[in-house]
Symmetry: C2
């Protein structure tokens, strides 16, 4: 029976996931908890980690734990200063090691990336980018990582040259749940989305991105005047916001192949929106690619002998 | 001593204000309550009104009450169907009269305006526009009415030709109080705003309106990387949103004089932003102009003999 050689951790604002791994990168066990960075003070991280990984530890064996995500933020366990682009997405020598009480673990937190002009930051996505690069070492093009704060990264020669963040996901949540648009807005994402309505809105916003704020209020007015239904309102809101983002990010993706890394449903929307602009798109599962990135970080760490 | 000849009411989502008026338009008394449309069911409006105006009523005298605002919405006291532009802002023959139990009052609700393409609606602002037109009957140009949902209206020959609504105020509230940007954002509006920072952001957003969503996240990144302060973050957020709105509304206001009707502080920000684009601007007090509009509605009603 294989034993755990190292532990991979993806620790975001609202969740943490952990995997018991072999040296060759196979997954032995999985664990997850809702003790995300947002709900923990710095002195609570170690206990929250041990709750999940305790069964995988052995006496007198120092277990490397590689963690990415908001765990390395200023409000996290231990701040991992950003690495500045252009740079490779991972740098083993810049991981930070928080102090721990349990002598069986050595925790390494992967730093995020930053850009000074225009100011931008990421934490967690750099590990996904590294996972993607591990599979496509010679990739030249653009990665789109949809989510609460969608990132677009320009990659070449194994480096992240520049990136931009759009608040699309957070705007969708705020507008659909807390603004005047919540009236007459379908709240249940599981009910699916009318693709024609979505794509029509993508195209409108892509053509006239400066009219977003007016088009948003237009959803309310169309509900009152023209009977726009709750499902169509949700599809249009999503389309307007994603179309606006595509217009803003166009200088990055125009003329390039785009790969999308993210949640399956959201990635499919971005793929449809980009394909409607004539852009070839590949989609990649976020969980798989995050783990690939953590594997790449482990290999760097093992090589460096830390 | 003068007696009350009619009662003016401005009844919005969160507040109602009432004035006891003479036939010649003088104010005798004022009253206000926080029983806005949003907190009342249809059968509660009459009592909420009487709580404020009871002292102004007399036995055996039918008192006209003229009300504007969200009181006429579908979720209000009694729906006042929208009048469609192009049209005059007030049409006495289209006011609706809700059923009342108290025989001393005759309530008239002023309808809002609507536009079919692009779909848009207003309730309350039409009365402010009427108040403005009463003072400037030959005005040709653009009115800007800042607020939660900022309206821009194109006026000519005593009519509203078209109008557009921008969600600027609601976006500012959501982003400054509920998004990731709330971290490192000054919440107290009373502390004033750095005009240079505000205008710089107005200009950036005006030049690149399609980059709004990216510029918004940039506030967070600049706080983390470059020490952007909480007061400057608030000024930049306001400037980015207003600059974006100015870009979207440019086809309306370019080449025209603009008059701004609204809350004093917010109107001053819009005035500075427009003046920075070389546009001459006049500002008008919202309360005064609302009452002027209600006076104009009363005069129409009195003339029509209803």
């Amino acid at each position: 029976m294989s034993t755990t050689d190292w532990i991979a951790v993806d620790w975001g604002t609202s969740h943490m996931r952990a995997w018991a791994m072999t040296a060759s990168g196979d997954i032995l066990q999985r664990a997850a908890s809702d003790k995300g960075m947002g709900s923990l003070s710095p002195d609570q991280f170690e206990a929250a980690l041990l709750e999940q990984i305790e069964p995988w530890l052995r006496d007198n064996v120092l277990m490397p734990v590689l963690a990415c995500g908001m765990v390395g933020a200023r409000q996290g366990w231990c701040e991992a200063p950003y690495t500045q682009v252009p740079c490779t997405p991972l740098a083993a020598d810049q991981m930070v090691k928080p102090d721990v009480k349990d002598a069986r673990i050595a925790v390494h937190i992967i730093p995020g990336l930053c850009q000074q002009g225009p100011a931008d930051v990421m934490r967690g996505e750099e590990t996904q980018i590294a996972g993607f690069m591990a599979e496509h070492p010679h990739f030249v093009g653009v990665l789109c990582l949809p989510g609460t704060h969608c990132k677009w990264a320009d990659l070449r020669d194994g480096k992240v040259l520049r990136f931009h963040t759009y608040m699309t996901g957070e705007l969708f949540a705020l507008l659909s749940q807390q603004s005047v648009l919540r009236h007459g807005m379908q709240q249940d994402a599981a009910q699916g989305m009318d693709e024609a309505v979505f794509l029509q809105a993508v195209n409108e916003a892509f053509q006239q991105p400066q009219q977003l704020s007016s088009a948003l209020f237009g959803l309310r007015a169309a509900g009152l005047l023209q009977g726009l239904g709750a499902a169509a309102a949700r599809a249009r809101l999503s389309g307007l916001l994603i179309g606006n983002e595509l217009a803003a990010a166009a200088p990055l993706w125009q003329g390039h192949a785009v790969s999308i890394i993210g949640d399956k449903g959201l990635s499919a929307l971005y793929a449809k929106a980009l394909q409607a602009q004539g852009i070839p798109v590949a989609t990649v599962s976020a969980e798989q690619i995050t783990l690939n990135g953590l594997r790449a970080a482990w290999q760097q760490l093992a090589r460096s002998g830390s």
